[in-house]
C-alpha cells in the first residue's frame, strides 16, 4: 500500500521536536510511525500520520519547511529473517535501492511487523511486495 509521509526540516536544537509535536497535538493528528535522521546541525523528521493532509496544513501554517512523499508499507512475518526474506533480499535481487525504511504501527497481527520504505523505484518495488503478498 502507498502511504503519504510528511517530512519536516528541523534545526538540531532543544525544543524543535517538541514544537512539531505540539502542532500535531493541537490538530488531533496522531503519529503512526516516526523516524529522525540527523547531522550535528539539522535533522529530518519523517512521519506517517493518521491524517496526513491535516497534519501537513497545520505544520505549514506554523511555518515549518515540509514535504510529502509516497512510501510503501509492507507487512512482514515477525520472525528472524522476516525483513531479510520479505523485503531486503527481493529488492536487492531486482536491483532496487532502499533509500531508508522504518518500523510502523499498522494493523499487524500478533506474528506480523509493519515497515514503511522508500525506494528509488516505487512502481517496481510495489509489484515485488504484491507478488510476495507482503504488500499491506
Amino acid at each position: 500500500m502507498r502511504l503519504k509521509q510528511v517530512s519536516v526540516f528541523v534545526e538540531n536544537e532543544p525544543g524543535r521536536l517538541e514544537a512539531i509535536l505540539e502542532v500535531l497535538e493541537r490538530e488531533k493528528v496522531s503519529i503512526r510511525a516516526l523516524s529522525v535522521s540527523d547531522t550535528a546541525e539539522f535533522g529530518i523528521v519523517r512521519m506517517i500520520l493518521d491524517k496526513p493532509e491535516e497534519g501537513l496544513q497545520a505544520l505549514r501554517q506554523a511555518e515549518f519547511t515540509t514535504r510529502v512523499d509516497w512510501m510503501l508499507s509492507a507487512q512482514i512475518p515477525d520472525v528472524p529473517g522476516g525483513l531479510l526474506n520479505s523485503v531486503a533480499k527481493p529488492m536487492a535481487k531486482a536491483g532496487i535501492n532502499i533509500k531508508y525504511f522504518y518500523a510502523y504501527i499498522g494493523h499487524a497481527g500478533e506474528d506480523k511487523a509493519m515497515v514503511v520504505l522508500k525506494t528509488n523505484d516505487i512502481e517496481k518495488a510495489e509489484g515485488i511486495l504484491k507478488s510476495l503478498s507482503v504488500d499491506q
Binding site: F9, E11, T39, I44, F64, T65
Partner: protein
C-alpha cells in the same frame, strides 16, 4: 623617520599647488583618453577647462565600484596595453573582479609610496620583514614586497598560510617586522602558543596591518600578545593597493599621501563635500596614476580628515580609523564580500529568492575572519533524504567558495530563524545581536 621630507612635510599651500597642477593634467588626460570619463564629464556639463582651482574638483562626477563592473575589464584604462606591465585584481560587486593595471611608472611610484609607508610605520633598511600578505592577484603581497625591497629591508615573502612555518621563520630568520592582516596576526599568536612559542620573546618588534577593518581594542590585543607595535595601513585595489595611507609612530590617524591621492569627504547621501573634521565617505582622486587613474572614486569607507600638522613632522592630512561602510560590503580575511554575491549563488543553487543571513563576529578579534551564512531551507529544496540535504550544503559551500574567493561556513536553518523585516531585509548581523 621620514623617507621623503620634501614631499611628506611640504607646506600645505605648496602641496595644494602641486595637487592642482597634477589634478588639472590628470583630468585632461582621462578626458582625452578614456571615453567613459568623457561621457561622464559631458553628462555633468564639465570640461577640463572648467578646472581652475582645487575647489573645482566638486564639479567633477563621482566614480564607484559599479563603474568598474560596467567597464570591465579595460574600459577605465587610459593607456594602451603595451604600456601595462602588471595587472592585479580583487573581487567586485557581482562576480566580476576589479581589474587594476599598472604601467612601469605606476609600479615604480607604488614601490616608492610603499617604501614611504613602511618607513612611516617605523621600518628601516636594517629590518627583516616577513610579508604574510597574500602574493598573487591580491595587491597586498607584491605591494609590500616591492616597497620593502626598495627601502632596502630584507624581505621574506612567506605570503599567507602555513602558519607553523611562519613562526619557524620568525624564530630562525630573526624577523623584526611582520606585515599581515590584523586577523592573521591573531592567528599567528594562537598558533605560536600551541607550539609553545611566546612571540614576545622573539625579535619581532613591529606589525603593519590592514586590508580589513579593525578596532583599537584589537590593536591593543595584537600589541600585547605579539609584543610589538601595531600600525594601521590603508589602501584599495581601485586606487593603487596598499599604501594610500598609513599611521606614523604617533598612531593618531593615517597620513594620506596627498601628493598622489587627492582626498575629500562627502555626505554619502547627498554627495556634498564636507569640511575637514566631519565624518563622511572618503573619496579619492589619483593624481599620478597612469594606467587606470580614478576621478572622485567613492571608497564607501566612512572616516574623517584631520589636516593639522602631526608631531611626526608630516603635513599630509590624517584620516581616522574606518568607522563603517556606506554600503554593506564586508571584508573578510582581506577579501571583499558583497551580499549580492551570496544572493546570486543562492538563487542559482536553490532556484528561488533566498532568505539568508550573514553572521559576522565583530566583538571577538579572533573571529573576524569567520564568515558564516545562514540559509533558510525552503519547501522547494527540502528533501526527505539526508544525502540530498548534505549535497545541498556541499554545493552551496563550494559555489560560495568559488564566487567569494574565501571559505564560508554554511548553516541550513528553519524559516523561523531568520527574522523577517519590513522593506529591505537586514542581511548582515553581528553574532552578539542574535
Amino acid at each position: 623617520m621620514i623617507r621623503d621630507p620634501e614631499n611628506e612635510s611640504m607646506p600645505r599651500e605648496t602641496l595644494e599647488r602641486l595637487q592642482f597642477q597634477r589634478l588639472k593634467a590628470k583630468v585632461g588626460d582621462v578626458y582625452e583618453r578614456v571615453p567613459f570619463y568623457r561621457r561622464m564629464f559631458k553628462e555633468k556639463g564639465v570640461t577640463p577647462d572648467d578646472i581652475q582651482s582645487l575647489a573645482d574638483l566638486t564639479r567633477l562626477p563621482f566614480t564607484s565600484k559599479l563603474d568598474f563592473r560596467d567597464n570591465y575589464p579595460f574600459g577605465l584604462m587610459a593607456v594602451p596595453m603595451e604600456q601595462v606591465v602588471r595587472i592585479h585584481s580583487s573581487s567586485g560587486t557581482t562576480g566580476k573582479p576589479i581589474i587594476a593595471p599598472y604601467t612601469r611608472h605606476d609600479v615604480d611610484t607604488w614601490a616608492e609610496i610603499m617604501a614611504r609607508t613602511l618607513t612611516s610605520a617605523g621600518t628601516t633598511e636594517n629590518d627583516v620583514l616577513q610579508n604574510a600578505y597574500g602574493y598573487g592577484l591580491f595587491t597586498g603581497g607584491l605591494g609590500f614586497h616591492h616597497g620593502a625591497e626598495l627601502l632596502g629591508a630584507t624581505v621574506i615573502p612567506t605570503s599567507t598560510g602555513n602558519t607553523k612555518r611562519q613562526i619557524l621563520m620568525i624564530q630562525d630568520l630573526g624577523t623584526t617586522v611582520i606585515t599581515c592582516t590584523p586577523s592573521y596576526a591573531i592567528t599567528l599568536h594562537e598558533a605560536a602558543r600551541e607550539m609553545g612559542v611566546d612571540l614576545r620573546d622573539t625579535t619581532l618588534r613591529l606589525g603593519i596591518h590592514g586590508a580589513e577593518p579593525w578596532s583599537e581594542k584589537m590593536r591593543e590585543d595584537i600589541e600585547d600578545r605579539l609584543g610589538i607595535i601595531a600600525i594601521n595601513v590603508y589602501g584599495l585595489t581601485e586606487v593603487i593597493g596598499p599604501g594610500v595611507s598609513v599611521e606614523c609612530p604617533y598612531k593618531c590617524g593615517m597620513h594620506i599621501w596627498e601628493d598622489h591621492f587627492l582626498a575629500e569627504v562627502i555626505n554619502p547621501e547627498t554627495g556634498e563635500q564636507l569640511p575637514y573634521g566631519e565624518e563622511g565617505e572618503l573619496v579619492i582622486t589619483t593624481l599620478t596614476k597612469e594606467a587606470q587613474p580614478v576621478i572622485r572614486f567613492r571608497t564607501r569607507d566612512i572616516i574623517s580628515l584631520n589636516p593639522e600638522p602631526c608631531d611626526c613632522g608630516r603635513t599630509m592630512v590624517r584620516m581616522s580609523r574606518l568607522t563603517g561602510r556606506s554600503d554593506d560590503m564586508l571584508i573578510v580575511r582581506g577579501v571583499n564580500v558583497f551580499p549580492s554575491q551570496i544572493e546570486s549563488v543562492l538563487l542559482e543553487v536553490e532556484g528561488v529568492e533566498p532568505h539568508y543571513l550573514i553572521v559576522v563576529d565583530r566583538q571577538h578579534a579572533f573571529k573576524t575572519d569567520e564568515l558564516e551564512i545562514w540559509v533558510e531551507v525552503s519547501d522547494e529544496v527540502f528533501s526527505d533524504e539526508m544525502g540530498k540535504m548534505e549535497n545541498l550544503e556541499k554545493r552551496l559551500r563550494s559555489e560560495m567558495d568559488s564566487v567569494l574567493g574565501i571559505a564560508a561556513r554554511i548553516k541550513l536553518v528553519e524559516p523561523r530563524t531568520i527574522a523577517r523585516t519590513e522593506g529591505k531585509a537586514k542581511r548582515v548581523v553581528d553574532r552578539s545581536e542574535l
